[in-house]
Symmetry: D2
Subunit: 296 residues, 4 copies
């Protein structure tokens, strides 16, 4: 049987290694990226490069998107050269992006009208997980669509959590990112306050990691913060977008989420300070500058 032909659109920090893993696992892969250099970089690895999303859609059985935000996804899916123009009955559309619940539900409906199944499948695991193929995938899909998507998921991740119908994966993903923001903010406030109070923040990190509220995340980010390593794994701009989407969900469903609301403004402040492209660990540096103190 011929290998499944898979399209991958969006070759950022996450998309590039995901496309590579699909190729490694034997899929026939066609990619597209808005800035073509990133696609060309994969051509040497036996991955085909398409000039437009519609060209990808025409060439494959399954198309996957992993782009930065709702407007980018709207353009790729519904634009003049978008996937919908090349869609045909029996295809599968997997969106790995983190966008709004409303948008994935709208895409599901529009592609269903062309006989295309849709799965929202945002991922967590950051750059490292994308490279190792150990992502956790939150899916919103019918059982049938999920079954079709499973071989793809096995190629890029190690765990799939089926959260419910289309949109449910995005709901869980946004809540997860709001959780990360809270975890990191509490951690950063503690580090900066202990440091400015004259206590070695390494002691704070040591206590966290010895306690019941330890987390691999605190191990990872504790080292990064203490070493002032702000290399971007997940950018302030993207987290700001996700907090905004989470808060929009909270508004739709009328659930007060004061912690997320305050986080959003904290990220807004970091963006105002020109740090939007930096890793979320760099949020605290905006306070450092104000407070005249450093965590390390």
């Amino acid at each position: 049987m011929a290998p499944t032909r898979v399209g991958f659109l969006g070759l950022g920090i996450m998309g590039t290694p995901m496309a590579r893993n699909l190729k490694k696992k034997g899929f026939e892969v066609t990619v597209w990226n808005r800035s073509p250099e990133k696609a060309q970089a994969l051509a040497a690895e036996g991955i085909q490069v398409a000039a437009t999303p519609v060209e990808v859609a025409k060439a494959v059985d399954v198309f996957c998107t992993c782009v930065a935000d709702p407007s980018a996804l709207t353009e790729v899916a519904l634009g003049e050269q978008g996937l919908l123009r090349g869609a045909r009955k029996g295809q599968l559309f997997i969106d790995f992006s983190t966008v709004s619940v409303g948008l994935v539900q709208q895409l599901a409906a529009q592609f269903a009208a062309h006989g295309v199944d849709f799965v929202d499948a945002p991922v967590t695991g950051s750059k490292g997980g994308a490279e190792k193929g150990t992502l956790v995938i939150m899916t919103g899909a019918s059982d049938a669509a999920l079954a079709k998507a499973t071989p793809i998921f096995q190629a890029v991740g190690e765990k799939v959590v089926h959260c419910g119908p289309v949109g449910a994966g995005t709901q869980v993903k946004l809540a997860g990112n709001a959780l990360i923001a809270a975890m990191l903010q509490g951690f950063s406030e503690g580090m900066l306050l202990t440091a400015k109070a004259g206590v070695d923040p390494r002691k704070f990190v040591e206590v966290v990691q010895a306690s019941g509220f330890r987390s691999p995340y605190y191990d990872f980010k504790g080292k990064a913060l203490l070493g002032r390593d702000f290399a971007t794994h997940f950018s302030i701009d993207l987290m700001h977008k996700d907090l905004s989407l989470f808060l929009d969900n909270a508004a739709v469903h009328q659930v007060p989420t004061p912690c997320a609301a305050v986080m959003r403004e904290t990220y807004n402040l970091a963006r105002a300070a020109g740090k939007g492209g930096q890793d979320i660990t760099a949020v605290i540096t905006a306070y450092e500058e104000l407070a005249g103190a450093k965590i390390a």
Copy 2:
């Protein structure tokens, strides 16, 4: 050599098992509690019971306190029947409570004037850690005082982190509790929003525990929340006090801590709703009541 005589004042959720562990490890233990029934309960186990703090101070080599808040500690240490009235040169005062940095520094100075060393040694590990003797102890002390306290610490905890001079243990403890509040708030907001949006919150918990931001704390509290088990391990009243103390520290040292500030008002809201004595997991139930939705 005669066993060290240790006094223990404050027999709450934490203090009672800590006093028992000291007895088990061979110390000669004398206890006192404001409401005497809790002390009497230990008499059958070979633990001596004193009628006043001053009586404890006179009878022991080391006295330990583990009380609810700054005013309780002030009364036990400095009141008319307080420890200071019975203090003598060469003794050691270990405070396991979580109070203000200012108060532990003041006590250290006042007891030093009587030749008594002081260690602030707040603990984390909750009820279970106190029972099993696996607490993590954050200490603020001179090296000499710490050395004297070590056998006591080994009897009640499994890890000691020496954070710096007197007050440093309290700084780290307060930052740790503010971190817990942020972790739990992010988790609770996510659970309530996914639930009200029609997504099974068990899926959210499953994703958290499969991801890099998993934590034993989320395993523990996830089960509690999904099972609606609000049995008190750490009360809303106590967390509210600790967030207030953390924010006071932040004010003293001029570090903006917006996340902790919002948490404090969230705990204030839960207290206003009559939930002060319940576990911190019950904070979300105040929102549940408002939002007409439940996490489980």
Copy 3:
């Protein structure tokens, strides 16, 4: 010269008296409303009623909209029976709604392509100002469009502030509403705290009104709160929408607005508690219920 023919779409708390004032000032008025009863109520007053927005556009020289939110305006302007379908060169489109800056800029561009000038002209003054024709109008428009709109403005308001090009009126309006939310929240928190602390909140109101920070708004809302009069002048749902739009602006322009962010969640909480249709003064009643205390 024949009177200018003016269309008015959206007959809510504000729109109905504004349409009446246009009629009174001699304009020939045609109205439309989504639920037709409100339009029929005006028929007896010599106001014409149209069945669709497009019908209004065809019948008039100037069309005015005053609807609840961005989606309602989009439908009225761009829907299948929308104004654009009836638009013709030389007309003027005045939007009195409060919607997003992005939407008014988009409408301006789309109607300009048909030769129609556009003015965003959100108003303040609440129900009473609409009835008396004393609204304050914040406009975003070219000088030429503003000149054409001026006779209309004089019929419904008493002051026009030209804030800049299209979108500028909306910017200022959203900032004004965020300001109102802050003013009212500070007032409400103070009243509830003094009341629960056992101090007559009328004393608080008296002090406010005797001080340099007095305001006609505090006079108006102080009486309403003390009299527990929550009749809707401006609903919690609408303020929640405006705070959301203000925060979206803040995100676009990267300005941290922590006060507005917290207000939005406070309004979210009030909506969750089922108070969305009530006046913004009723926000405090959600806290009253939690806190077991009343402002009056």
Copy 4:
């Protein structure tokens, strides 16, 4: 009848003109200030200068305090050279400071034990009101004590609001200052966002002042902000203290006050940025620096 002998302790921005007004109205005035130069400056005006608070207490019938914070008042009233050491039956103690409710209640009790009546009488009106004698005075006192204090109040203020028993004046004052913080923050956020969005913030100020939510305060502070006049009328440090005290009250009485909580951290941020001594209008400059935009 000999003029009443009045002591005045604390000669800051408010205290100096208040003492002068007492002298002008015919009282025999004795002053004390921690840094003696400020007291000496008044000697040429026929005002007597005492070396210590106790000396003031011995020389007068009524003593008034107007100091910066709870610790300063505690020292002046209860310190080794404090007022209590010179207090005698029949005297009156008027505190014009803004401190905690707990402290004024404690002072009332301690001075009552010496036969001295106590009135808490915080004022509003800022520097200008103190100079003109047009302060608004919020009093907490028994009717008898209030009657004795009235001639003093008439010399320094133009309106007295009797809020209730001792502590009630302070409750209302703290709520009033939290209100001012909310008013100013909403105003500042709106100005900075409109400015950064390219809209002239003078238009925003013009709209505010034309609307029902206008206030003399916005007139005053609007001119200051547009003119970048940050001369200190009321310092960031003092507002931060008052917000902290208000939040402590809110904690005691269990009333959620999320707006005040966020304001406190905003002031904390401004203090961290080294602006503590500047006027509260300068809070926004911390955001300006971050946001790379100016209100004017």
